[in-house]
């Protein structure tokens, strides 16, 4: 799951990026509004964390441009502006949520899960295709009676597949959801992660479609 973080304060940006990576998100971090627009035009993100006071182009401008292009990616505003008018304006411009600085990381992560879940049309927090279920909070995967704790990247991989059961994801699509821009990707990283998940949950959990990619089965 890939998140765009737009934050000009280097210390906050760094810290949030670390926290998101800990929670198994791939993070692209940009520091100004213009780069944010560029990033949104050129890559697919599952959510955006957007500061309002940004150099070059304000967060509000980035947001209204994004919604003007009919891009429906979930956006959470993270801002130190506590005035009710600011919050109302941001929500009316198309933000999905507004989080006031300073915030608790756990709360940020919970809100992030919530907006992503809503965008996927799901009500239940746990992802499932009827065979395998995945809890985004605990990173615990279940199959039948056995529960397994997944590593951050294994979780990211399985989550990407379970978000769209029945759809085939290519290697590069998977890599995009697991790794941020500046992270080095080893050539067989995806194979390695799939191997890990299959070992824990059973070989038929993730199906390989030769020449096309990988998928999990649709619920029956």
């Amino acid at each position: 799951m890939r998140i765009l973080l737009v934050e000009d304060d280097p210390m906050i940006g760094e810290a949030v990026a670390v926290a998101l990576k800990d929670a198994a998100y791939a993070v692209d971090w940009v520091r100004d509004g213009a780069s944010a627009t560029l990033a949104l035009d050129n890559a697919e993100h599952q959510a955006v964390l957007l500061d309002l006071g940004l150099p070059k182009r304000s967060g509000a401008e980035v947001l209204s441009r994004l919604r003007g292009q009919d891009n429906r990616v979930p956006v959470i505003i993270i801002s130190a502006r506590d005035a009710v008018e600011d919050r109302i304006k941001a929500l009316d411009l198309g933000a999905d949520d507004y989080l006031l600085k300073p915030f608790d990381v756990e709360e940020l992560l919970a809100r992030l899960r919530a907006v992503i879940r809503r965008r996927g049309g799901q009500a239940a927090p746990v992802l499932s295709n009827g065979i395998v279920s995945l809890d985004p909070v605990t990173h615990e995967a279940r199959r039948g009676d056995s529960a397994h704790l997944l590593s951050a990247r294994e979780f990211a991989l399985l989550q990407a597949l379970l978000l769209r059961p029945g759809a085939i994801l290519t290697r590069s699509e998977l890599e995009e959801r697991i790794y941020g821009w500046n992270e080095e990707i080893e050539s067989n990283a995806v194979d390695f992660l799939i191997h890990g998940v299959r070992r824990k949950l059973g070989p038929d959990t993730i199906k390989n479609v030769r020449g096309a990619g990988w998928m999990v089965e649709k619920p029956a």
């Binding site: 280097p10 926290a19 502006r81």
Partner: protein
Amino acid sequence: MRRSLQRRLSLTLAFAIVLTGLIAAVTSFGLGYFEAQELQDDSLRQIAALVARRAADAGFKGAPSPDGASGDNESRVVVMRLPGDARPAWLPENILPGFHTLDDGPERMRVLVRRLPQNARIVVAQPTDLRNEIALNSALRTLVPLILLLPLLAWLTARIVATELAPVRRMAHRLDGQAPDRPAALSETDVPDEIVSFVHAINRLLERVSQLMNEQRRFIADAAHELRSPLTALSIQAQNLENAESREASKDRLTALRAGIDRAQRLADQLLSLAKTQTGTTEQAMIDVSAIVRELIAEYLPVAEARGIDLGMEEVAKPSLSGSPDALRLILGNALDNALRYIPSGGEVTVRLTAEGDDAVIEVADTGPGIPASERTRVFDPFYRLEGSSGNGSGLGLAIARDAASRLGGSVILQDRPEGTGLVFRYRQRRADAN
């Protein structure tokens, strides 16, 4: 003693009225008295004329009747026709015709002697006590309206003064009722001309006060906003440290947390410095500028070395300044801190001491990217940051330097470095040894 305008006006006006009233009273009393006397002399003259005519007609022989006829004391008049040289005992010999006031008889008398033909005389006399009483009574009657009017006048004066001064009282009341945090200008309508300029002055003061209040309010709002950033960083950094899975990761995250704490600490320090420069006392001491510059350079040398910046000093003159050494330390310390924070590593920072005329000039020159001319005023505003600058500064350094400079009676400007790129921070103050 307080000087109440209304009291003083009322009192002085009342005094003036009473005084003129008194003068009027005395005059009218005197005139009335004199007039009454004249009137009585006239009636004596008429009596005499009447008696003379009747004497000529009927050979009237009046007998001296000093005690008068009837009992009405007020009209007691003695009329005598004296043949030849006959006279009562109280009438002096050889008295000439005309009016006389006689003191020698049993009582004081006013006497009119009139000569008749055939060597006879008519004497008409009246006791002066009686006359005076009549005159006094009639004079006193002229005083009555005046005396009745005096309290009315005094009351009217007090009322008029109070009414005319009412706008001043109302204005004071309105001023008292103002909210202290947002004073509003006083209205100039229905204010007397003499007070309008005063109202103008008060309004100008109120405007300056509310401007200052606005600045302070904005500053506090900005400061609260600025505090959120380091706190946000700290809270996430602490949580990241808690979630660290490896020893190596915790070490990295602890370093980040320390940096966050340093940043919060620095912001708190800078806020405190700013508060001090704004309220501090104006200490007057001789400042050894080159000693202070050397101390500061020693203090910042580790930072400069860590960033690979060549920090040095150039002493062209040895100016001495008077004022607070701490204020100068704040000015130059913030200039050095900015220079070392914002220029790329491998650069050069030089503190230069010179003199220009009567002024001492201390420059902190760097080889950094400089600041565009259009931004050189705004960067002195609290929390203003240049676009794209790293957000770890407090945003207060230059504001502190400017406030401290104005406390010292000096000034701060930013300039381009004459040779190559870079910024020069220039502090200028009148030398202590200037004439």
